[in-house]
Symmetry: C2
Subunit: 369 residues, 2 copies
Amino acid sequence: MKIGILGGGQLGRMLIQSALKYDDEFYTLDPDSDAPCHNISYFTQGNFNDFETVLNFGKDKDVVTIEIEHVNADALAELENQGVKVVPNSKIIKTIQQKILQKEFYKAHHIPSPEFQVVWNSDEKIMMPLPFVQKMNTGGYDGKGVQVIKTEDDYQHLWKEASVIESLVDIDQELSVIVARNEMGETKTFPVTEMVADPKLNLLDFNICPVYLSEEVQKQIDSITEKFLNVVNSPGLFAIELFLDKEGKVWVNETAPRLHNSGHQSQEGNANSQFEQMYRVVKNLPLADTDAVTYSGMLNLVGAEGYAGKVIYEGMEEVLKLPKTYVHLYGKTETKSGRKMGHINVLADSKEELMEKLIKVKAMVRVIA
Amino acid sequence: MKIGILGGGQLGRMLIQSALKYDDEFYTLDPDSDAPCHNISYFTQGNFNDFETVLNFGKDKDVVTIEIEHVNADALAELENQGVKVVPNSKIIKTIQQKILQKEFYKAHHIPSPEFQVVWNSDEKIMMPLPFVQKMNTGGYDGKGVQVIKTEDDYQHLWKEASVIESLVDIDQELSVIVARNEMGETKTFPVTEMVADPKLNLLDFNICPVYLSEEVQKQIDSITEKFLNVVNSPGLFAIELFLDKEGKVWVNETAPRLHNSGHQSQEGNANSQFEQMYRVVKNLPLADTDAVTYSGMLNLVGAEGYAGKVIYEGMEEVLKLPKTYVHLYGKTETKSGRKMGHINVLADSKEELMEKLIKVKAMVRVIA
């Protein structure tokens, strides 16, 4: 089958890597001629935000999918009209692309998500009490396009564009759950993972699985994933990012309609990875079992501050000596401050051992130039 | 790093698949324009038995390795002279390529291997009593180039070319052990696997791991792998195929200087796979841990007799519904009788469960056209 992917980054690369177990042909579209997928797929250099480019790329494929949500969804809708299968469908991509529509989707379907106000332009009065979160309607990615307004002084920093103004959750834990639905309507949920963020770069830092949650919390999450999968009305793999607040209530922060950084530890930690699951969704195959086989965790390899140029993974050889430690690099030759260059998965027999190993590994390796 | 592989078949494909976790560039050489590696590496169509072709292919690579041993080893020796790293080195490839040299290698190093006589031409008198095995000196592969001569009548079928005449072992179990050595001299051994052969096609059928062996048998195997790794004098990953005879003695049948069918279940069954290990050998990195994490087994997907053409995997969707069952296809579009098209790995909690699952899966799927 000819499978087209909008985006040629690391998520696409790991999807293709995983799917090399099968017999399909992968085509990728990315503006960067050196994108991680460029030498492992039939590669087209081009802008996935451009209507004509996406249309031309997709029209001779059996199925088109995405590894980034900021793509031209109108072109995907047109491809659907022309009979090309698009996974997930253009409608849900459009909804999730725009924070305003995404929030309204949760509201309409009674999926708990923090209270919000829509602001279309900078003249509108903000009713939300301080502190609050501003999320740009479009273009947010990897923590960009999101800011916290804490004081009256901060009002001057407000972005003057369409956004969602959201009440600030008093976060106890940041959780994530990856769910999948195929065209036949079969659904499957990965075990919940906990994300531990680096406040400086606002990029995911550690990700651990499984997480022990009270029955009450697990029930709320099950209700959210069940509702979501019922109403999403599209095949797809989705990462639902959650906040557990200090009062034990679960809120949906946001959803990504694609493979997600918070699922990377599934490569070695679960019976099947999110990449295998995504492949099965794209092909409308029976979904894979997602059991956690042991404790697993992930840390991102991010370009160290102050370094740019040809990447060097300092300390990597020592890391490779560690048992149950799995290095995943993304085939990017150039590093820069904060760039996601790879990740390391670690397995362990207990949560304590896992955290110890993650902290140890993190201290061993530096992404420099 | 620029890594060149002679051969572009499934072993190369799975090596590249596994190594996509890292940042290297893979180049492959194969006569078949549609070889499994052709669309996931920088591909050169050409004959890996031709001196000039191999020399030209290898001269600008950082390291050249093999996924099939029937290559032009003189060209590899010339590449070594020119400063290109070759893994494993040309000398051990030459030794293993020729059954006569391979047998003499075992004899010289006191590695137990069935008694043998070398026959250079058809006039020589065969001293070995019946029944015996004839192995062609060169060109044997996948069970080809090996025959058993049982009766005086069979003498007429003797191949009239240089061969090894070997005493027939009264086989109790066929075992295999994959060993690795890097340039730094570090060595690592995978747990022993048992091979259950299909007598009709003479292709590996099931492969299971771990195998419970008596202390005495394990000691013999440890002694063989230790000796081999001590004397091989080359970095490399090697599959040592063993016979355990009915008296409890272990014999080396033959060695492959490369990735091997008997190690495929390591993809999901071991802490790291033979492909990860091979990558580390090629890059001279610390070797990976090889522990078996659970019971694992493998069955080959071989083209059914009587079918040739565009492949259909009958029953595959049902197989994909089974938990802990992993399908690996090789990207070959055309099937024919006996062609290796893929394999399926299965995990289980006990040997009984494993055998049950393997037999069940084998009955579910058929490779037809």
